[in-house]
């Protein structure tokens, strides 16, 4: 299936806010859950983009981040891919453990997972697919209502 929107972005964290805004506006007309699009999807996409730019592409301005967005009748899907070597998303520690609560970092992957219905990494770990579902059959653990 062809994506509804593809972006190749410069590796510039200043571009994240406008990019997220642009993608969300594009999804708005078709999305039946404006509230979770506005909060959950927006924050999760911001996390995915900043991880791609900061860790995947190591802030290298010559690298790019690719975003593919697909809007379906019951979901919005965004795939964010960087040019890095990836990582193992399974070993990210739980930032809500008392030991980690006072750390300034480590909440990005956790938030994505909490906020969305599905967060899937490729094997290499340099590409993450974010899924926000709405309409009937929904994941019970869907973040904002947790």
């Amino acid at each position: 299936m062809r994506s509804d929107l593809v972006l190749e972005l410069p590796n510039d964290i200043k571009a994240i806010e406008h990019t997220v805004e642009f993608v969300v506006r594009r999804c708005e007309p078709s999305c039946e859950d404006q509230k979770r699009l506005r909060l959950n999807f927006r924050v999760a996409l911001t996390e995915a983009l900043s991880n791609a730019m900061l860790y995947g592409n190591h802030r290298d301005p010559a690298k790019r981040v690719r975003v593919e967005v697909t809007v379906k009748s019951c979901s919005v899907i965004a795939c964010v891919t960087d040019e890095g070597n990836g990582f193992d998303p399974e070993v990210v520690p739980d930032p809500t453990c008392p030991m980690n609560l006072c750390k300034s970092g480590g909440r990005g992957v956790f938030l994505m997972r909490k906020l969305l219905d599905e967060v899937r990494y490729n094997d290499r770990g340099n590409s993450v697919t974010l899924v926000l579902r709405y309409g009937a059959p929904q994941n019970e653990l869907r973040g904002a209502s947790a």
Partner: protein, 110 residues
């Protein structure tokens, strides 16, 4: 996004207009740390005009709160709408901060 700094007696109030995210969090950090160095000790960050906050925005709040406490100061947060409160609850950061509904309440307590 804009960070506006005001004083009310000995309290430094920062308004976050727009988003507090990876692209601008350093700006907030710097503003607050400058005031801390100048000797200010009571801080209120008001989110009444904030759209959303990402994990690095939350991270900056955590690190500011630590730095302020090290100087025996105090940081409060106010004006979080339902969306923003959700982010604090999911990350359990609502247990780390003193959060009040309105700016007035926060000012009274500080």
């Amino acid at each position: 996004m804009v960070f506006q700094v005001q004083k009310s007696d000995d309290i430094t109030i920062v308004d976050v207009d727009g988003q507090l995210i990876v692209g601008n969090r350093q700006e907030l950090k710097q503003k607050v740390l400058e005031e801390l160095e100048r000797g200010e000790r009571k801080f209120l960050i008001d989110f009444a005009n904030t759209g959303y906050i990402d994990s690095s925005g939350l991270g900056v709040l955590v690190s500011l709160s630590k730095k302020i406490r090290e100087q025996e100061g105090e940081l409060r947060l106010s004006g979080l709408n339902e969306d923003l409160r959700t982010l604090f609850e999911l990350t359990k950061l609502d247990t780390l901060f003193i959060i009040t509904d309105t700016r007035e309440e926060a000012l009274k307590g500080l």
